[in-house]
């Protein structure tokens, strides 16, 4: 069996799951997201994730800031001087001047790039190469258009997951559903996975050990591994009032997503596009993918994510040798101890 580290592949069989069920994932359709944050709360409630501080970020209605060890779903709010399809927002004819979205977005950037402990994370900021602060449609004299975008972000459950590839303990593993899960009983908090993630998702939990649950341990969305194993829907998707978050077989979700994009295009929402659905992208496509209404950067997503371990095969032989050495050591230990 070949194990590949890039390109199209069905990740579960690729990781030794002989009779793997169909790959599971999320399709997050931001065009119907109402920003209620039910996903954030349902996720925390189910997974018993601690709160990560009472911090007013004022990034529109986002006071969560970013995904991290204690935020496995994050709803981004983007205020833009753009029109949403044929939406009419009642600005015409009113005594308006230049808009505030530039300042707001700048403040949001600062909130995200400054002291990140406010967000309950020590993850370093991912440079998204954000476009200039003046977005298309902005009008220096008087604002004319406006739209408010919302997007519930989550771990992408990459086909080629660098976090997993670099994990030295086997804490991160590929499940039979093709998802990527951290096993907190194994993780030793080495943190290699943190910079490996091209999306800035995985993170170690801040806090005093013994006081804060899993302090120092890498954490992220498990796609509710415990729930889906019993045929249940992940907590966030189950709660989602408008079905912005849809859970299911990735193949089927991709079909549904394409239909949705087509419908939006037909309805005049030409900005609609998919993100993460392409198995030829730098991470082999993601298990959790999105319908966006603007460039990925606008939502804080990297435009062209590449698995950071793409070159790993060259390193594999050395790693294999190391593993054999370790195995020999282990046998020796057991042998002497019995």
């Amino acid at each position: 069996m070949s194990n590949s580290l890039f390109g199209p592949v069905d990740p579960a069989p690729d990781a030794g799951w002989a009779d793997a069920p169909p790959r599971k994932g999320f399709f997050t359709d931001t065009s119907v997201c109402i920003g209620c944050k039910a996903c954030e709360v349902a996720c925390k409630e189910w997974n018993a994730i601690p709160d990560d501080g009472m911090n007013f970020l004022g990034s529109s209605y986002d006071n969560t800031g970013a995904l991290g060890a204690s935020t496995w779903r994050h709803v981004a709010f983007i205020e833009q001087p753009k029109r949403l399809g044929s939406q009419q927002t009642g600005l015409i004819g009113e005594p308006v001047g230049p808009g505030a979205t530039d300042a707001l977005n700048r403040a949001a950037d600062e909130a995200l790039s400054g002291d990140r402990s406010l967000l309950g994370t020590d993850n370093t900021v991912v440079d998204l190469g954000m476009p200039g602060v003046t977005l298309p449609g902005a009008n220096g004299d008087g604002r004319a258009d406006f739209r408010w975008l919302m997007e519930s972000d989550v771990c992408k459950h990459c086909t080629h997951a660098a976090c997993l590839d670099v994990c030295p303990t086997g804490s991160l593993f590929r499940t039979e559903f093709g998802t990527v899960v951290v096993q907190d009983d194994i993780c030793n908090g080495c943190g290699y996975c943190v910079p490996a993630c091209p999306f800035g998702v995985i993170d170690r939990r801040i806090g005093e050990k013994g006081v804060v649950k899993n302090a120092g341990i890498a954490q992220k969305c498990t796609l509710c591994y415990d729930r889906i194993g019993e045929g249940l829907t992940p907590a966030c998707a189950k709660a989602c009032p408008t079905q912005s978050i849809q859970y299911g077989d990735v193949d089927e979700l991709r079909e549904r997503a394409q239909q949705r994009v087509d419908a939006l295009h037909a309805a005049g929402v030409h900005d609609a596009r998919l993100y993460g659905h392409d198995e030829h992208d730098g991470v082999g496509g993601t298990g959790a993918f999105f319908l966006l209404l603007d460039e990925p950067e606008v939502y804080g997503l990297p435009p062209d994510p590449v698995v950071t371990t793409k070159d790993l095969p060259a390193m594999w032989k050395k790693a294999g040798l190391a593993a054999l050495t370790m195995l020999a050591g282990a046998v020796a230990v057991f042998g002497s101890g019995s």
Binding site: G16, A38, E45, G170, S171, I186, A239, A323
Partner: protein
């Protein structure tokens, strides 16, 4: 110790002997992970409920383990909510198990500067005494124009919209029988 079993279940062994030579999948799964079960499954019972926040009336399933609520989520059977919950409804488990929730009677004596403990039964006795005293002292048989009113304006009540119908019924019934009329709730906020 079953050495063979333990030894063979080591990830590194499984990695090198199974279909997952990179050790990223099945070989890496820990025993604890493999044994994971959702607490909705291990619950002792599931109880039908309704969300306590707004008046949409979303269906809830309450999962109980060892006489403690361990999970609350939407009821997919509800034609109102179809299993979905908003952030407040999704926080219901934290509402009922909130670390900040007060579970003991607190008492502040007149001019007191802090709370004191008080036995629940004693508290209700004291409240009953206050009601009787206030009602007697402020009772009106007639108003100043000589019309019968049979009431007290000496005490008032506020709230009810977060409570059950049966509770509102007893509140209105008891207070009306006592002649109290200043009974109000959130309908007027």
């Amino acid at each position: 110790m079953d050495l063979g079993k333990t030894f063979l279940s080591w990830p590194v062994v499984r990695q090198l002997t199974g279909d997952d030579p990179l050790g990223r999948g099945k070989a890496a799964q820990s025993a604890r992970t493999a044994a994971l079960q959702p607490r909705t499954k291990t619950a002792d019972r599931v109880v039908d409920s309704i969300c306590p926040y707004c008046a949409v009336g979303c269906g809830q399933k309450v999962y109980v383990k060892d006489e403690k609520v361990v999970q609350i989520e939407g009821d997919p059977n509800s034609p109102v909510s179809r299993g979905r919950l908003c952030p407040k409804g999704s926080a219901s488990e934290q509402l009922v198990n909130s670390p900040g929730r007060v579970t003991k009677v607190r008492y502040r004596r007149p001019y007191g500067t802090d709370w004191e403990d008080l036995d629940l039964d004693v508290a209700i006795d004291m409240i009953a005494d206050r009601v009787v005293e206030t009602r007697n002292r402020t009772w009106q048989d007639l108003d100043d124009q000589g019309h019968k009113v049979r009431r007290t304006l000496g005490f008032a009540s506020l709230g009810g919209a977060t409570l059950d119908n049966e509770e509102n019924y007893l509140i209105k019934k008891l207070f009306t029988a006592l002649g109290a009329v200043q009974i109000e709730n959130q309908a007027r906020i």
